[in-house]
């Protein structure tokens, strides 16, 4: 089990944003992506998760092994916390939601409709969803937004447990997560001033 990316180029709105990116994460490894706003982290993560096509390069991962989580975490406001998790557990074929509830201290909120949670509580629910996917590779986009210190610790705990069991994590963030992990700054991979490529692309681009 590993996640490999080879000379990957990704594009947003038809324009290359990152180019020639390569890295490999082995089982039990965690990679943190950094880079200024607008450099293309979100685009990269969506491409790796298979939500959008790569412009160039290859992504090497076992099929159906990636769980993606971003700001919009697919939570239904009118369903309770428990129902939300149970649904995703069923979709991914893992039935037991108790560990997920436990890892993010959601038991006291389990029967509350998700719409009546605060920003941080909602985020915890979104992260708990990762646990019920049972997927080995986690691809996370700014996972700790609006979390307080305790919740960030819960998150770090969940990541550690995941890595210890042979999982892989790829995280884009601007703030310190309290994880010791490799850090990759994507800034050097910013797509070249694309004007140079112009003639080769003949016509449009």
């Amino acid at each position: 089990m590993q996640l490999g990316v080879h000379t990957l180029s990704v594009a947003r709105g038809g324009i290359a944003v990152l180019e020639g990116l390569s890295f490999t994460i082995k089982a039990g490894g965690c990679l943190i992506l950094r880079g200024p706003n607008g450099i293309g982290k979100t685009t990269l993560l969506r491409t790796i998760s298979g939500l959008q096509p790569a412009l160039d390069g290859t992504i090497e991962a076992v099929e159906d092994s990636i769980a993606y989580a971003a700001h919009s975490d697919g939570i239904k406001q009118v369903l309770t916390v428990r129902e939300n998790l149970a649904f995703w557990a069923e979709v991914f074929g893992t039935r037991d939601i108790a560990p997920a509830l436990n890892a993010f201290a959601l038991e006291p909120l389990a029967d509350r409709p998700a719409g009546a949670l605060s920003a941080g509580q909602k985020r915890r629910l979104g992260l708990a969803r990762l646990l019920v996917t049972g997927r080995p590779i986690w691809v996370l986009d700014e996972p700790t937004v609006s979390l307080d210190v305790d919740a960030v610790a819960m998150f770090a705990g969940a990541i550690h447990a995941h890595l210890a069991s042979g999982g892989i994590a790829l995280i884009a963030t601007h703030i310190d997560l309290g994880l010791e992990a490799e850090i990759l700054d994507v800034t050097p991979f910013k797509a070249l001033a694309p004007l140079a490529l112009d003639d080769a692309m003949e016509g449009f681009l």
Binding site: S49, G50, L51, Q52, P53, D64, I66, A67, Y68, A70, H71, S72, D73, G74, I75, K76, Q77, V78, L79, E83, F87, W88, E90, V91, F92, G93, R129
Partner: protein, 218 residues
């Protein structure tokens, strides 16, 4: 797959979910028609089958943007795209859930509304039959339209514009069956055509919807 269906039905039942609202809309349209065209009962009973079909179609139409847009907004579709469920299955289930919450109640309630418009008594069975055969096609075609416009904020009006022309064959055969029935003629041919359209769309359109949805997600 079952989980998705159950969740969709659950959501439809919860507050603001819209179960039964389609029915209420149908009722109101039916009730407004006499205000619009005047209360003469002979005229009403002539146009009754057509109006009932139109009302069903509009009620369907109005609920289409719920099929996918909510799931799009909160990111559920992105996550479902990563899940071990082919997109074709997802859209089929969503169309089925839409039919269960909108089409089926209409089929069941249509005879009642027929009373309001003086539908001739011979017309009830063909009306219900034609709705039963036709409304699934409306849901499936509507899901295709919803998938096309899912990325567009409040694209409801565009959705209607795209979907209504696609509804034409279904409406023609459906209303024709109901009308012939009401006039005491045989409505076998239009019902056969209706069944053909429904099965055709159920078999083929989900592929188009899934393709379109994949494009929209990326």
């Amino acid at each position: 797959m079952k989980a998705l269906l159950i969740r969709d039905l659950q959501l439809a039942m919860r507050a603001g979910g819209g179960f039964g609202l389609g029915l209420a809309f149908f009722l109101i349209v039916t009730a407004l028609v006499p205000f619009g065209v005047g209360p003469q009962s002979a005229l009403l009973s002539t146009i009754a089958p057509g109006i009932l079909w139109l009302g069903a179609l509009l009620a369907c139409l109005l609920s289409l943007d719920r099929i996918l847009a909510l799931d799009w907004e909160d990111g559920t579709l992105d996550l479902l795209a990563c899940a071990p469920l082919p997109m074709e299955a997802t859209v089929s289930i969503k169309a089925f859930a839409h039919w269960l919450t909108t089409g089926l109640p209409l089929v069941i309630a249509a005879p009642l509304f027929g009373l309001l418009l003086n539908l001739p008594s011979a017309g009830y069975i063909p009306l219900v039959l034609s709705l039963l055969l036709g409304t699934p096609a409306l849901s499936v075609i509507g899901t295709f339209g919803a998938a096309l416009t899912v990325g567009i904020k409040r694209g409801g009006l565009l959705l209607s514009l795209l979907v209504l022309p696609l509804y034409v064959p279904t409406l023609i055969y459906g209303a024709e069956a109901a009308r012939r029935g009401a006039e005491g003629l045989s409505s076998t041919t239009p019902l056969m055509m209706l069944a053909g359209i429904t099965f055709g769309t159920i078999a083929l359109l989900p592929f188009a919807s899934a393709a379109v949805l994949r494009v929209n997600i990326r």
